[in-house]
């Protein structure tokens, strides 16, 4: 039993934040409700006073979600832990592996390297949002047909990156695909099949 934590909790009323601080566990913060009074304010727009938390609107896969988040919460953590959209994966949390790739206003980005509060009112697309009902996106179909994965952990990020890669038109050759898919790592080493899938999907989309 940790006495300092107990004292901190007593000293500051509800005390969730204080306990959290004493523990120093920032990853857990996204799971915690905001301290009373700290959240229910307008979103920070121009000239808004600086604050450590905000109530923001996140537009994900065509739906608007209101969510109260601390400023330090990444878009990735907001998607996974607050909106329960766990298709987007956390690999390195440093922008190196690409497992967290999503589209923001149609462009692929790494959701671990941006804050949720920075993406307010942007149009965010995750892997949950690329299929049309029961019908898979051509990139998803190509990944299945080409067996472009083994463990599957990097696959949502690969698919989101591939959707953008095809859209951008960077699919002229195997080398070009490899270069423009280089932000997504696959520890199982399925790269040849991933390149095949991206080529197939590009042909399918162009048809």
């Amino acid at each position: 039993m940790s006495e300092p934590s107990q004292h901190a909790a007593e000293d500051s009323g509800p005390g969730r934040r204080s306990v959290l601080k004493a523990g120093g566990v920032s990853a857990a913060a996204v799971m915690m409700p905001l301290a009373p009074g700290g959240a229910a304010h307008a979103a920070p727009g121009p000239s808004a006073a600086p604050r450590a938390a905000a109530d923001i609107a996140l537009r994900v896969n065509g739906e608007t979600h209101r969510v109260a988040v601390e400023a330090r919460v990444t878009l990735l953590d907001a998607l996974r832990e607050r909106l329960r959209l766990t298709g987007t994966k956390k690999g390195c949390d440093r922008g190196e592996c690409g497992a967290c790739t999503v589209l923001v206003d149609g462009r692929r980005v790494k959701s671990c390297l941006t804050l949720a509060v920075m993406q307010e009112d942007r149009e965010i697309t995750t892997v949950e949002g690329v299929a049309r009902g029961e019908r898979l996106h051509p990139v998803q179909e190509a990944f299945v047909a080409r067996d472009a994965f083994q463990c599957g952990f990097c696959t949502p990020g690969q698919i989101m990156s591939a959707v953008a890669c095809v859209e951008e038109g960077h699919t002229g050759s195997r080398d070009e695909i490899r270069e423009w898919m280089s932000g997504n790592l696959c520890r199982c080493g399925c790269y040849p099949n991933i390149v095949d899938a991206v080529r197939d999907a590009a042909r399918e989309v162009r048809r």
Binding site: S26, G45, P50, A71, G95, K110, R178, E179
Partner: protein, 327 residues
Amino acid sequence: MKLFDYARAGRPEEAVRMVAARTTGTFVAGGTDLLNLMKDGAQTHDLVVDVSRLPLTGIEESGGRLRIGAMATMADVALHPVVRRRLPVMSQALLQSASPQIRNMASIGGNLLQRTRCGYFRSPGFACNKREPGSGCAALEGRNRGHAVLGGSDHCIAVHPSDLAVALRALDATVHTLGPDGPRSIGIAGFHRAPGTTPHRENALRHGELVTAVEVPLPAPGVRSRYLKVRDRASFEFALVSAAAVVRMDGRTVREVALAFGGVAPLPWRSAEAEAALRGRALTDTTIGEAGEALVGRARPRGENAFKVELVRRALRDVLDRLGRQR
């Protein structure tokens, strides 16, 4: 990441005022470096002011110069038609940087301010004069394969990681800023600083000063430019060494030349010595060799990075060979 206050600035002046008012305030544009630095504890801030939505994204040509808003993304600039056509060295440097996702996020201003990839700097617990002035430098006698052979000091041998900055150094760009005392312009030559005894001071910016634009003189017709990056992987990797060359040839004779190098120094490294060895002379194996000698004349390799001395000479030879053959 530790708790911090966040605000989104509506105007550049407002962003500057907010950051200037707090000792550990900072700007965020793309966030691609800042978030990692805060996650790793290499930097802590009690205020982060979001400048990503400021209207500083334009790319405009006027009077023989290209003015690039500081919030333009690396992808936007790399693929801009004027950049591709007139400034290949810059387009190539950007397209060989990072990954497509990061290039969609990272800003041009932030690119110049990104911090070294030195593992000791990014790992609190190790001595690092850049992160904690006076604590020492673990890289001097440590794992320093990636570190500087030129321009370092006994206080720091970390290299500057930006490819863009190397291209801009060869192109003689100008950085425009807005600070608490108003706007000013800083030549790229004076923007980044050698470490000396104060490696924590990496550039000419003052606290609260915001980069608003980067301006590049467009080369005259006939000027050729090229960027060569040598790295451990074919893509998505920082440079071991890189070379940016801007030349104007008259037949085989070099009329004008600007040479800058990355991966070898704590700042984008312009070599007046190498340029002097080529200017007014024919581009031959001999003169290129002499330029390479001049480039590394004052090199000071450490335990693991002596290979860079040879590698950067070969990079120079390669980039000049290709430019010389180009029509």
